[in-house]
Amino acid sequence: MSPEAAGLAHGTIRADHIWKRFRSDARRWSVSTQLNYWKARRQSGDEDFWRWALRDIGVHIEPGEAVGLVGPNGSGKSTLLKILSRVMHPYAGRVAVSGRVGALIEVKAGIHNELSGRENIYLYGSLLGLSRREVAQRFDQIIAFSELDDAIDRQVKFYSSGMQMRLGFSVAAHLDPDILLVDEVLAVGDASFQQRCHDRMREVLNQGTTLVLVSHDLAAVEATCNRCLLLVDGLLRGDGPIRDVLGEYREWIEEMAAGRQTVEAIVPLLKAIADDGERGSPRTDGPLEVRLVLDSAEAQKAMLFIGVSEGPATPIFVIRRNMTLASGESELVCRVRHMPLPRGRFHVWVGIYDASWRELLPWHPATFFDVIGNRLMKAPRGIVRLSPVQVTADWDESRR
């Protein structure tokens, strides 16, 4: 428990005006760089040698809250998590964290390579301030959850990365932390273990533990958390109900993607968003809404195709619309009432052609969405699924 946390209920996080910077010059400890650094510091200030990782972050989290932390790579998520877990000191600001913190920040959380899995569990326990007896009481539970029965007496350096993550998560989530911090590490586990991790996180939440979850799997964040923080470039860009912030984040991704858009087109696609119609993630058999903003120089007849794929250009299903493009900007909304996709990330491909199949907008991935729902049911052994899906849709056209 941090000294400032006296008087706060266990599971509370108070972080105000957090600033953190790192040295940006690579050869930090060579003598010449160091001399330059001191010279610059005396003359013009040392700002050029530093890079801000976090700038003026303020976060208050109450006990029992489930908070998602999202943002692009390098936005400072892990740094913030490390500061909240008190592993790292901020450059400026005040942090108060009350209670026992279980953290799974890198794959090998609190794990010592030379020791066996069993010894690691006890070591981690004493890092969290538990006695041997307290750890022993939870030992079987941890083994059962991590499914490491045969490997538990093997040295951890012989574990696969998946096994290390399983051990790390099991330990962190079973030693009764008041606060559980989970970084983007679950991705290392296989699908069924990831599922159980999320179940376990919900269980722990029901026991009143505070959860902070970092993930790029937005659907998983949405399914587990009710509040979300959005970090972009070291700044807190969003903090609020999960749907609103994830919506903002998706829009931000969209803007970034639009900025990088290199598709040469006669009819450019200005904006593409796919969600459940209310800025949330679509659910299996729930509505899917794709909103496109197009910019056509003239009014013309056209065929518009929307395809949904798992990534590659070959779609799972395609929806076609024969339409008349209005001149100028127009918005087009496509609603699928019962979207038949399982959980996962899917990409929306868009292409527009005129009557003689001339490309007005080439077939390209325009956006993506994450589906909340069940995993795909298994096909019989040795059977390859082609996923032919028939989808009906309602359409809506409006001039902008």
Partner: protein, 283 residues
């Protein structure tokens, strides 16, 4: 908001995070984590002996061999006069505190790097790592003390009653050991070369300190100054006086040594606290 977006903006100075020095709080923190210190020490003891065939025997064999070498080289060739005390006994009483000191400082100074996987992921007061390293060496030293008993039996003598002074000497020695270990454990994280430098200094120290020879080889008027620079000289001389010669420690040597040790302890703690804050950034 816009001025924050400028990368040159800095936080207002009154918000800067300071790692406050607070001895009472730190000691309480360390005490609260005594279980962790024990676990870490147990881990290291087990890790170092589990894979070796001879196990704990090494804690005894290594100093015995050193004494054998000392006896051959210093006693036979260097002709060191130890009075009526058998040379192996004389040398061993010097070697025990010396090897506790060197192995503590060298393994303790690497302890933060060695444990960087842990301290990058879970919070705990960082002192636990150097302290646990010193504890491991203390256990080794206790084991090696058993050999001292064998030597006493072999030469048909026993420790003198003045051995009751030993705890005082241990305190002086611990202050020096802990201070140096704390300072180096953090400094080494930033400048890795220090580890090599330290190794060299310790190696020379073995010969510059009266481990294999007696303090009487130092001219009388230099002795106090010498002990102020190398407190271990006074400590080792003290052990010999109280355990072997039945005399009280030489206070004119021990007091300057104790003063230096206290300064080292305080400076070490200060350096540790100042440098500890940035460890997770560079380790």
């Amino acid at each position: 908001m816009t001025d924050i977006l400028d990368h040159k903006t800095s936080p207002p100075p009154e918000l800067l995070y300071r790692n406050r020095l607070n001895v009472r709080r730190d000691l309480r923190d360390l005490w609260g984590n005594r279980r962790l210190v024990r676990t870490l020490a147990e881990r290291d003891i087990r890790a170092s002996y589990k894979q070796s065939f001879f196990g704990f025997g090494w804690a005894i064999v290594t100093p015995l061999l050193t004494v054998l070498v000392f006896t051959i080289f210093f006693k036979r060739i260097g002709k060191i006069n130890t009075g009526d005390i058998p040379y192996p006994l004389f040398a061993y009483v010097g070697l025990l505190p010396w090897s506790f000191f060197t192995s503590s400082v060298s393994s303790g100074s690497g302890s933060l790097i060695f444990n960087s996987t842990i301290l990058n992921k879970v919070y705990c007061p960082r002192e636990v790592f150097p302290v646990a390293a010193i504890l491991v060496e203390a256990v080794d030293t206790v084991l090696a003390t058993a050999v001292l008993g064998l030597l006493f039996l072999y030469y048909g003598t026993a420790p003198r009653l003045t051995s009751l002074w030993v705890p005082v000497l241990i305190l002086v020695q611990l202050a020096l050991t802990v201070g140096l270990t704390l300072a180096f454990s953090t400094a080494v994280v930033y400048v890795r070369d220090l580890k090599q430098v330290l190794g060299g200094i310790l190696q020379m120290g073995l010969f510059l300190t009266p481990v294999a020879w007696g303090i009487r080889s130092v001219p009388g008027r230099w002795r106090a100054a010498y002990c102020a620079i190398d407190p271990l000289a006074a400590v080792i001389d003290g052990y010999r006086r109280v355990v072997l010669q039945g005399k009280a420690p030489a206070w004119n040597l021990l007091l300057p040594a104790a003063a230096t040790s206290m300064v080292v302890l305080i400076a070490g703690y200060y350096i540790f606290r100042r440098l500890e804050g940035g460890i997770a950034d560079v380790a």
